[in-house]
């Protein structure tokens, strides 16, 4: 059976962007990004077990502009997936599923994600420069 012959539901472009769908897409996107981020984690641990020189090489890379951009994206994706994941777990208990609750939870997740990312980097940079 050829899948192309079947009737298709309307393409995504016909829908107006809304917080709920964007956050759902972002949850999957950050999940995929974090899957790739795990490679960085294992590389870091592996280098540390291999010795001081490999570890120093990883630290140099993470301290470079590219490394810092990757780490920033990694922390942002991690905090988003963590906060929105907790929102999902809360929904799974049957709570917060009315429209008002879904939107309030959505904005709360975005606010907490931003706050945690900023706080983490402020503390991290102040540690680094001392």
């Amino acid at each position: 059976m050829s899948p192309a012959q079947r009737p298709l539901s309307p393409h995504l472009q016909v829908y107006r962007w809304q917080l709920t769908s964007v956050m759902s897409i972002l949850h999957r996107a950050t999940g995929i990004a974090l899957s790739l981020g795990t490679i960085l984690l294992v590389w870091w641990l592996g280098a540390a077990s291999d010795g001081p020189e490999p570890y120093a090489a990883v630290q140099r890379f993470l301290g470079s502009w590219l490394g810092l951009v990757l780490l920033f994206g990694w922390s942002l994706a991690l905090f988003y997936h963590l906060c929105n994941g907790i929102r999902h777990l809360w929904w799974d208990t049957g709570h917060g599923l009315e429209l008002n609750g879904v939107y309030a939870g959505g904005w709360a997740v975005l606010a907490v994600t931003a706050a945690l990312t900023i706080v983490t980097w402020v503390i991290g940079i102040s540690h680094w420069t001392h």
Binding site: G31, T38, A48, S49, L82, I86, I123
Partner: protein
């Protein structure tokens, strides 16, 4: 993946079918994803706080951190929960977007293999540091 329960001859056909649905595995995947998510909440918070404390740490300080028994246990747990949760999540992504039996099967197999390899590499690295005399 739960096996079809052919090994339970005492159960009625209805009892066997209830909850399994069209994917023949019932809510097993959904439930495992939630349990691993729940485990990852405290582990992730612990890890982020620990990493902030490690900013600028040299190799000796880093190894000393890994070697403390609670750290060793928590990182190994974090690696197991992370790669288990990753495999479950990427499975759904592959099932949604990769079409065709052969391509989908190959993608799932490769994804799981990579998850196992990276998890083992991470755990081995941690244990090597922790147990080195």
């Amino acid at each position: 993946m739960a096996e079809p329960q052919t090994h339970a001859p005492m159960r009625s056909p209805l009892g066997r079918a209830i909850g399994l649905g069209s994917a023949k595995e019932g809510v097993a995947h959904w439930w495992r994803q939630r349990v691993s998510a729940l485990a990852l909440v405290p582990l992730t918070v612990w890890f982020v706080i620990a990493v902030i404390g490690l900013v600028g740490a040299d190799h000796a300080a880093f190894v000393a951190w890994v070697r403390s028994p609670m750290t060793t246990v928590f990182i190994v747990l974090l690696l197991i929960a992370t790669f288990y949760h990753t495999a479950l999540g990427l499975q759904v992504v592959i099932e949604d977007y990769v079409h065709g039996e052969v391509m989908r099967f190959s993608a799932l197999l490769l994804m799981r293999l990579l998850c196992i390899l990276f998890a083992l590499r991470g755990i081995l690295a941690v244990l090597t540091m922790a147990l080195r005399a």
